[in-house]
Structures are given as structure tokens and as C-alpha cells.
Amino acid sequence: MKNIYFDHAATTPVDARVLEKMMPYFSDNFGNPNSQHAFGRRSVCAVDEARDTVASLIGAKPSEIYFTSGGTESDNWAIRGAAHANAQKGKHLIVSAVEHPAMITTAKELEKEGFEVTFAAVDEFGRVDIAKLEGAIRPDTTFIGVMTANNEVGTIQPIAEISALARERGIVFFTDAVQAAGAIPLNVNDPAVDMLSFSGHKFYGPKGVGVLYVRSGKRIGKIITGGHQERSMRGGTTNVPGIVGLAEALRLATADLSQNAAYVASVRDHFIARVLNEIPYVKLNGHPKDRLPNNANFSFRYVEGESLLFSLDLAGIAVSSGSACSSGSLEPSHVLLAMGLPEGLAHGSIRFSFGKENTIQEADYAVDKLKEIIVKLRALSPLFPKDLKNEVY
């Protein structure tokens, strides 16, 4: 039985070098950095060093880095914290229609609190329509949030243009870089952003730890109240091993970025080319070029995504489906619908996300299996037209 992991956008394994760095902070150096004694001081040093590392890797100052429990908390904090801090100025927020649920759901919660939210439209590739976004800006707009790259289809957003639109009007610009971190270069000054989030486990770091960058001078409210951790902005005992691991993972990912990205993209491109050439009635979702190097997302016509996901799973291939059944709701992916895909195609979407340990041989095995599975499921499908031949090439 094969064991092929093509779901790196969901999470990645912890790199052995990262784990090695973390280990001492579970047992030998277990001190609470808030403690006044030597045990605590050793942990303070480790966290300070990690903060310096993260800051320098993304062009930020250490005082602009806040450690959190992950991408969802960072996203929640960014939109909620900025919305509340600027509520006197205005109560209108703009987020793209293809944001992660961590943003969309929080924006909808803020609507219940009396904020107004515009969900900015995207084009067929999932890119924010700049003209429409500009048209949505109002005098009372205080926040614009657009992800650096999309988690489902991998489309890279024009954040330099969006940031310019926002910042020249004094609107806070936030970008969720959870999928982009470790995959494409990140620098908070190029393009300039006011806030940025990412999570350790997407680039071979540990789960349960993330970052929110907040530019000096930008005000943000708290969402987790407690002790004096994170300069009194985020309570909760500091996750020392997690923070150490996140910093080391980001250091390694940044050092090897161009090499890893080129390799992962070569496996991914081989996979995409074979799928498009050998399986008929397939659509590649997302932008053909401006997409993350690790992402391939397809809609297989006449086939439902979850049955495809389980068939691949039974063949030892782990992928993700944005479709209804797997997520437990009846709604197809909000990202694909925002891109204008018909619901049938949105239900048949599958995301393959590749990593540095994947090989061309694995990609080939997956395509071969995929071809068998597609023929089988299309033979089962009442939607497959009788006048078409159910075949692959």
C-alpha cells in the first residue's frame, strides 16, 4: 500500500531539524518565561531569539511580532482587533470573497456587532478585482483584508496594488499569508502591509503556533485578555517550544525557498500536465501562472469530490476536497463559487498540494490511479452523457 501525501496546504510534517531545536524546551528548559528565576530566564532568551529571527526574516522589527496559537487566531485578532480599535473612525470593513473561513466567519460575526462588511469580488482565476475593490472603499472604511495567496486554488493576489489603495487612504491593510509563508518570499515592506499572519505548521514547523505582525503605530485591540505575555497584548502562557520551532522552520524555509519552490513546482507542473493531457473533461481551477508553487486544484466533470477523495485515499493518496460532503456542509466551496464555477463543478473539485519530500514517481503513480478512479466514478455517474466515451488517454 502506497502512502503518498499530497495535502501540504492542510499541514506539513515537522522537519527533523526543527524538532531537534524544540526538544530541550519541553523538558530541560521548561521554564515559564514570565518567571523571575533562572529557569524562566532561559526561556526568555529562547523566545527573544525566535522573535528576532522571525522579524529579520520578514523585514520587521521584533517589537512588531506577536506569537499566537496559529493562523485562525492571528486572522481573528487582525480583523477584530483593527475593527474595534478604529470603530470611532468608521465601521466599514472590506475582505475578499475568497478569504479563509477564519476571516469570513469573523467578518460575519462583526456584522452582527454593527460593522458593515463588503466581500470583494474576484475574477475567474480567484484574483481580487482591483477596480471593484476600489469602488467599494468608503470614507468610513477602516480595514481591508486580502490574503497573499488562496488556500484552495493557490492564486496569488495582487496585494501590492491593494496595499497601495488602502494605505494611501489611511486604511489598515492586512494580509493572511498562512499559505504563502515558506512558499513565496515574504517581506512586510515589499509590498508594505500593516498586518500579516502566518502559521508554523504550513512550512514544516509545529502546529499550535502562529504569528501576527502589526506595524509600529498601528492600533489594534486585544482579543485574548490575561497576563502580561506578548507585551500585554495577548495573554496565555508562552508556547516556548512551539515558538522556537516556528522560528527555526521559517529560517530553514526561507534559506531553501527558491530551491524548494522550484523543485515542488516541477513535480506539480508534471502532475498538472499529465492530468490535463490524459483525463478529458477536467478544469484546472485558479490562475494558470500566478499560483503558489505547491498547488494544483482541479474540477473533474461528472464526478463528485468526496467520492474521488475517498477513492484516492483507498489507493494510498492523501488529498483534500473543497466539496460539500467532506466538510460536513451541503455548500460547495465558497472560493470556487466566488470564481463563478457552476455548483456541479465546484462539487467535483480536488486540491493536490505538494511538498519537498514528494517525487515525480509519486506524481506519476497518482495520475495512473486517478485515471482508473475517474473512469470508474464516471461509469457510476448519471450525469455522464451517453454520447461521450468514458475513456482516458
Binding site: E304, L314, A324, C325, G328, G344, H347
Partner: protein
């Protein structure tokens, strides 16, 4: 999340396909909802002698289609009308709560096929 019986029925579904000269056909669901089931039945003297299906849907939808068509073979049409989604779920050893709607579709597709049969039967005047 799925029982072994569900995975087995999903991997090796029985009664897949169409019946050329069917006596009843029912199709339920929509592409927009992500589930469509089509059931064909052959009826002889009020007894379902053959049942086949085609399904666009999740693993649970395919498994329930296979199991439900398996259950109604050999039943009279009136007995088949008593095959509820609960009975199908029991045979499969349970379904996750968010998948219950798939088994409802199987029940409805069978009922639609039987109604279609009854209409055709009545039209023939027998």
C-alpha cells in the same frame, strides 16, 4: 468516519448501471446539491426482479444506492416502498449525521422508480 460496511459498498458497489427495458425509473437530487441518484427497476408480477442505479455523489451516497438496490431485489413493490432510509442505514452499520441526507435520497429514488412503474402499469391498463 465511515463504517467498514460503507467503505466496502462504496469500493465494490453492486447493481451499477442501467436497465435497458426498465419498468420504472426514478431520479432524485441535483448537481447543485452534490448528490443525484437514478434507480431503474424491472418488475415481474409485482415483484422487483432487477434493480440498478447510477449515482453522482459522495461515498455514502454510492454505498446507500448499492445497499438499497440490493435490498429491494426480490421484494414486491409494496414491500420495497417500506424500505426506509433508516433500514438502509442499519444494514450499513450507521452513517455520520451529516450523511443522513444521502440515505434519504436512496429511499426517495426507489419510491420515485416505483411510482413511475405504477403509472406505466396503470397506463397499460392491466
Amino acid at each position: 468516519m465511515y463504517t467498514e460496511k460503507v467503505m466496502e459498498a462504496f469500493q465494490n458497489p453492486k447493481n451499477v448501471g442501467e436497465i435497458e427495458n426498465y419498468d420504472g425509473m426514478g431520479m432524485i437530487g441535483s448537481e447543485a446539491c452534490g448528490d443525484i441518484m437514478q434507480v431503474f427497476i424491472k418488475v415481474d408480477n409485482g415483484v422487483i426482479t432487477d434493480a440498478k442505479f447510477k449515482t453522482f455523489g459522495c461515498a455514502a451516497a454510492i454505498a446507500t444506492s448499492s445497499t438499497a438496490t440490493e435490498m429491494i431485489r426480490g421484494m414486491t413493490v409494496d414491500e420495497a416502498l417500506e424500505v426506509t432510509n433508516k433500514k438502509v442505514i442499519d444494514v450499513l452499520g450507521g452513517l455520520p449525521p451529516q450523511k443522513i441526507h444521502c440515505s434519504v435520497l436512496a429511499e426517495q429514488a426507489i419510491k420515485a422508480a416505483i411510482e413511475d412503474y405504477k403509472k406505466r402499469h396503470a397506463a397499460q391498463g392491466c
